[in-house]
Amino acid sequence: MATLELRGITKRFPGVLANDSVDLEVSSGEILGLLGENGAGKTTLMNILYGLYSADEGEILIDGVPQSFAGPGDAIAAGIGMVHQHFMLVPVFTVTENVVLGVEPVGPGGVINIKEAKREVREISQKYGLEVDPDAIIEDIPVGIQQRVEIIKVLFRNAEFLIFDEPTAVLTPQEIEEFFGILNGLRDAGKAIIFITHKLKEVIEVSDDIAVLRRGAMAGRADPATTTEADLANLMVGRPVELVVAKGAAQPGAPVLTVADLVVLDDRDQVAVASISFDVKAGEIVGIAGVQGNGQTELVEALTGLRGVAAGTVTIGDKVVTHATPRQIHEHSVAHIPEDRQRSGLVMSFSITENMVLDGYYHEPYSRGIKMDWDQARAKAGELVEQYDVRTPGTEVAANTLSGGNQQKVIVAREFGREVRLVIAAQPTRGIDVGSIEYIHERIVEERDRGAGLLIVSTELDEVMALSDRILVMFDGKVVAEYEGGAVTAEEIGLAMAGAAP
């Protein structure tokens, strides 16, 4: 029986106390859920544990013996394994090759003994119920299986303590269920597991013990048997949080977005969106559910002018905008919350003011001719920061100093900060904390009640179900199912997301 203990871990970054005297303990045969908002210090803590950072104060003990990790190598040697949120796999290698990468069993003459490697991979996958084909190429297998490869990788290196960083973010509901089965199996096999997440439901379902971090410090522990989501949210955010989106019935008006037989190609010229037709009416929220990579990204990019349309038409109001540029779409009073806020939504080293006028800078009042009016821009930014509750020391700090939730609020503020009649929002709350999610959801409903049409694309099934008046499920580039919001279960949608036609 092994025990991993963190004692009084404190880590300071310039101007930030990332971890404030954190104590944590996990033993063999236990799953510890580590819950916290973005920026609460979960990742910092785990990076310390994994040897990527060194703590300013405090110590790491394994079975009571203090450890000092100069790098991940030391942590791995001590039996700590990390399954990262973004997989570290070589897409063109086989499962076996990925597992043994860096610790290959070598025969005489330095030749890799791939047969031996394959045998070990098979052994591990049987022992822990991690079904994989050792010869499959990584890029050919689904994300859920790729995750198993990551787990096997860690087990191959003899990890006793497994850290999972937001492991469910990329999985379908069914895959999540399977993943929980694997977690339980690992626990029963005597591994100690730290499960990092910000999803309340999951942490209650799978953990044996829950630790909640808030602003770098331990906010409290909870017993999954007795705690509720509301309690946990309260611990996480430090105030009561409304978890259910409060909204009245939709009052749909005329269509604001009409998509007819739309075909869109992806970067490799493969059909990503295969002849889709739907509409979004004023005053309604249409949600698009689906596992990531089923054409949602390409659909949104096509609707917002970022990607060319191969066939079909897109109409906003009564204007055909099939081949419009992003700016023309913008000028049709369309708000677009992009899928990847750091890649497309913000210029991270720009100030909040600059980001607030990123798409409206070229017209009055922010500029006249080519002369920017920074005073006007600053005033507007200050107003929006106030109105949208962006937590920042000022409007002139760079966007990259904000937490993920506040960055997202900047985008929402910019996009909703003018009169819009259509909102296209992709993953509007991805990776942000419950407090900010609550806030952004309220704004979305507010826009609907004001009369805008909204298209919400999200891989978070809960989110789609909570917000939508109508739900479309995308699979393999097509809309495979349509439901009325509130009249469908997660299981039904989950099946459609996995491609099983209803």
Partner: protein, 406 residues
């Protein structure tokens, strides 16, 4: 130190409309103006570079290698000392020295601005040298054919040089926008093409004076010459000309463009994050073309100051490596117009002082290249400076450009 931020930080009600100068300095140094840390690294880097070059002079002393003795070592150190002194007197020691420094600075600043504006837009303009040549040749073509009053002829030369260099830079931008060909590669190639094109052009009847066989152009009209600023003193050794004024005007214009105009906002947005710029409705490919054309135009003016300010005629290599020094200079100046001006004066002083050093001592002027390179190395590696001088220099230097692959 962080990348310059704009607009100026709102430090309170009084700074909202604040003085223009304060805003300018805020843009230069980032959000929280910390003069000490903003100047510390460059000053220490220059100090360290000079110290290392003293060592280089000493250890490269040929007498010392023939037969080591303490007196030879003493001589070598003395030699290094007088080289450093010559470097100083040649650049700042007299009115002529200052004038020479300013004359050298003008094209350096202009070419530095060319590279800097590329950096700001995420483009690595290695082509300032070629753009200088093309701009300069345009100025020569105008200067040998048109003779109108100086207040018309000089502006005409500026415009002509801008167009000439701008087209050359614009080609690289167009290739990047249309085909994705990386500007590092294309500008290097365009440098070679420009260099050879100049030699060819100088052998044509249009440029070559009658009776000459060597590649050299006719002299430009006197009215096309950039007026000498200290001409009223009636001394031939005061070479500072109107080019430095053009360079300073250009620096301010680029500052205004980058931080006060919608165009500059687009340039910087594309430079930091082309995806977000595209998302925000900016025409990224068109911006690549216009940035490269503007960069080429600035380098073109730099070439023009070489011709119309100093040489009065073209011969191969009249760009004199200034276009390459400009890259170091833009890095040193952190791609900010004010920084480029400061770095331009420094490099101009090194060139002026280097000449004096070569005359007074045996140290070849090539040492100047070593010093410039060392300054950039130390600037780019603030950790090194910290280790050497055991000081805290604030944050690491910001991102200068977005890698090679993007």
């Amino acid at each position: 130190m962080t990348e310059p931020q704009t607009p100026a930080p709102d430090n309170g009600p009084d700074s909202a409309s604040g003085s223009r100068w304060a805003a300018f300095m805020d843009d230069l140094t980032g959000v929280n103006v910390d003069w000490r840390s903003a100047l510390l690294v460059p000053v220490l880097a220059i100090t360290a570079a000079l110290a290392v070059s003293v060592i280089i002079i000493v250890v490269s002393d040929i007498e010392l290698w023939r037969e080591f003795s303490l007196s030879a070592l003493g001589d070598a150190i003395g030699q290094a000392g007088s080289a450093m002194w010559a470097l100083f007197t040649g650049s700042f020691g007299s009115l002529a020295a200052v004038s020479s420094t300013l004359a050298f600075s003008a094209p350096l600043i202009l070419a530095g601005l060319s590279v800097a504006i590329g950096f700001k837009a995420g483009l690595f303009n290695i082509g300032a040298e070629g753009q200088m040549l093309m701009g300069g040749m345009a100025a020569v073509a105008l200067g040998i054919t048109i003779d109108i009053p100086v207040f018309l002829n000089v502006p005409l030369a500026v415009i002509g040089a801008m167009v000439g260099g701008g087209i050359w830079g614009g080609i690289a931008g167009l290739l990047r926008a249309r085909t994705g060909a990386h500007e590092v590669i294309t500008t290097i190639m365009l440098n070679s093409i420009a260099g050879l094109a100049v030699i060819w052009m100088l052998s044509t009847d249009f440029f070559q004076p009658a009776g000459r066989q060597d590649p050299v152009s006719e002299d430009i009209a006197v009215s096309a010459r950039l007026p000498r600023l200290l001409g009223f003193l009636d001394r031939t050794d005061l070479r500072v000309h109107f080019g430095i004024i053009i360079a300073l005007i250009a620096a301010y214009a680029i500052y205004w463009l980058l931080y006060k105009s919608t165009i500059g906002f687009e340039f910087r947005a594309v430079g930091f994050n082309p995806d977000a710029a595209h998302y925000a409705g900016m025409k990224v490919t068109w911006l690549y073309v216009s940035v490269m054309a503007l960069a080429g135009g600035l380098a073109g003016i730099a070439g023009m100051t070489q011709i119309n300010g100093l040489l009065y005629r073209a011969s191969p290599g009249f760009a004199a490596g200034i276009g390459f020094d400009a890259i170091s200079l833009a890095l040193l100046g952190r791609s900010h117009p004010a920084g480029v001006v400061a770095a331009g004066f420094l490099f101009g002083a090194l060139r002026a002082g280097g000449l004096e050093m070569q005359v007074v001592t045996d140290v070849p002027i090539d040492l100047i290249g070593v010093i410039q390179a060392l300054v950039v190395v130390f600037i780019a590696a603030p950790a090194l400076i910290r280790a050497i001088f055991r000081v805290k220099t604030g944050e690491e230097i910001g991102q200068l450009t977005t890698g090679w692959g993007t």
